[in-house]
Symmetry: C2
Subunit: 412 residues, 2 copies
């Protein structure tokens, strides 16, 4: 669609989402293609935190739990997230980390399928999902076990012994996307439940958990929701399961009457039973700013632009980097991929470091994957152009081949 | 010690901790006796968050995980907390909520005592501790059960079937304090392990978990550590257990190599295996500000002053409020209580609301407990004087007897 940079400038000029970029703080001269790992700060965050610290916490102190809605934050923010993923009010909470929420929901799902042994997932699922599943299977014993199959073997592997199918909607290292509704239907046909991880899709595309019949879902606050580093995560529980499932992380905020201080646990009705401890209000406030940004825009338009950006990236790669042994890991078909593009290259790690040094931020996943995320609220067509030009230059000149690019940091 | 307000002013003038109050933001004219529930903001927090949002998150984006030590925050802040509770470096983490950390540590303790059925606690322990224990017992099955006894029956109740003794060092509704070392020794003599909740003691007094032989402990970041509403909590694991215990919340940050993205869980060596998901960095930064305040002062002096404040409060109560049916719930003996004073009164709820309206902030715990916390870094002797004068006036005039003081808020 664009064969020179001016055409990209023109695409940005005509982009209906162009104004959204003003809602974020981004450093000058940076092409930020890592919003799939950490979204940038919404412009509103700094002022919101100042007000929260200075006025709410500093002036109203403990009274702010009531006065400023701190107590309702997990449900209030959860209801906003519900709008992004197709849940009705009262089905989503913002709370804890993705990993902790996965533990709750796997526990809840297993409480509904006590006669089935298998937690089924796929081998390249994000590791924490697999670790949490392995952990709860071990804790429960009784033959419970995590079984892993290849990406495309999932539907065939679901059978009468499958208690729960645990999958990430969009894969973190390939960018490939599952058909949420089809696999959920397949699981239900076999009497199994689903726990979906929406970490790499919530906020990047329209999702409709209700019409897809999703049983349980979790997702991440700090990627496409732009909630800040380590932002609280979210969880979704279908209305039908709220009265019957039992989640194992019984804490006071999940109690029917937290401030009655009863000795025995009595779960709250509805989604609140999936809370555990006290919510980190400062982090919740930043998350809410991020979600408010997403709510301002039509997710169909966001999805459409993300796919245009990826298509342009692939076109430019074909035109400029064909000779350098890059492998296209992410599907070329729009309906089979999320909002990121993953390339394999034997020197992927130093190539990414060289790109970062030139102001193009992507990231690397061992052993050989370079990832580029396309968050349409702030990524422009010119960013795609400039990123591929930088990559082509680095590959053409072997600029990546320098010892400083091989130094491994704690976080890659 | 003080029979008029001027003497209190003089006590404040001579107080070695008086300068500490400058380290906190407190509204003018407020007597804040609720730091046992939510500490006020350290003066450093607002600027720290501005820098974190504007420069670290906003300028360095994803790179901040390495550049600004985000990745090390749970261990770095944990090591600071270790200085407050007598742990050696590498025994404490700042992470998750108290409830979630309790689940991890109860799971870890039970993994070391698979042949014992009983989790032993006391009836008036903070409810979330009981709920979490009840939840993990139910999840594990196999006859595991939570047994509750009265406060002073604990030592006698520990026997050969006790897997773990779960107690809060200072009780949230009575202010009474257990002898940490004595009960730990008694548990060990019976072959049981201890999980201590230090929510109401960490930061308010010297604690020495190492010399007391404590096995596991958790604590709260938002009370005497002044880490902000819902601040991340902490956990402590004795070095001896780190190589043998297994905690059940297996997440990627507890993995030996989180960024190797291995398919199977392999716990990190040392304290890091007790991490689970990604830490909420904004909330962690505020917590660190709070802990840095506490590190500036000698906890023995803090403890001494807190007891002087409570003694003064009790003296003034005896002098001014004797006729009004107040019950002293907290022990009069210094070595049997924490840093709060709890009074029972049949009209405790409206009395507290009337006090709050007059700028004296305490809180209420059902059914009839009024709580006043004495955080010596910012509570003054004049505050004690003024608080009791306000209370006496409210009781003398029955000012509490107004419908507006009976309206119940979500958080009491």
């Amino acid at each position: 669609v664009a064969t020179n940079r001016e055409q990209c400038v023109e695409l940005d000029r005509r982009d209906r989402l162009a104004a959204a970029r003003e809602g974020f703080c981004l450093p000058d001269g940076i092409v930020y293609l890592d919003g799939n790992s950490l979204g940038p700060p919404p412009r509103t965050v700094a002022a919101r935190l100042q007000d929260l610290v200075g006025r709410e916490w500093g002036q109203d102190l403990i009274g702010s739990w009531n006065l400023h809605g701190w107590i309702d934050a997990p449900v209030r923010i959860g209801d906003k997230i519900a709008q992004l993923i197709g849940g009705v009010p009262g089905t989503v909470l913002a709370c804890d980390s993705t990993s902790v929420n996965l533990f709750k929901l796997l526990g809840a799902a297993l409480s509904l399928r006590t006669d089935r042994a298998v937690l089924l997932s796929e081998r390249t699922n994000f590791p924490t999902d697999l670790y949490v599943a392995e952990g709860i299977a071990r804790l429960l014993g009784g033959g419970r076990r995590l079984e892993l199959v290849d990406w495309d073997e999932i539907e065939a592997a679901i059978d009468g012994d499958t208690a729960v199918v645990l999958l990430t909607h969009v894969n973190y290292r390939t960018g490939a996307m599952y058909d949420l509704a089809a696999i959920t239907a397949r699981a239900h046909a076999a009497g199994a439940l689903t726990v979906w991880d929406l970490a790499h899709s919530a906020g990047a595309m329209p999702i409709d958990v209700a019409s897809a019949g999703v049983d349980f879902a979790v997702g991440c606050g700090y990627k496409y929701l732009n909630g800040g580093p380590g932002a609280p995560a979210f969880l979704y529980v279908a209305p039908a399961h709220q009265a019957t499932a039992h989640q194992p992380l019984q804490g006071w905020f999940g109690h029917a009457a937290p401030f009655a201080f009863e000795t025995s646990y009595r779960p709250a009705a509805g989604i609140a039973q999936f809370l555990c401890g006290t919510a980190p209000i400062l982090a919740m406030a930043a998350l809410e700013c991020g979600i408010d940004c997403a709510l301002d825009y039509d997710l169909s338009a966001v999805r459409e632009k993300s796919q245009n950006l990826i298509d342009l990236f692939v076109e430019r790669l074909d035109a400029r980097c064909g000779a350098h042994g890059l492998g296209l890991v992410t599907p070329r078909e729009r309906d089979k991929r999320g909002s990121q593009l993953c390339l394999s290259h034997s020197e992927g790690y130093p190539v990414i470091q060289a790109l970062v040094e030139r102001g193009v931020i992507g990231d690397f996943r061992a052993p050989d994957i370079m990832r580029f995320g396309f968050a349409p609220l702030y990524v422009r067509y010119v960013d795609v152009w400039d990123a591929v030009e930088a990559l082509a230059s680095i590959l053409d000149t072997r600029a990546w081949d320098h010892p400083r690019y091989r130094r491994r940091a704690a976080v890659t």
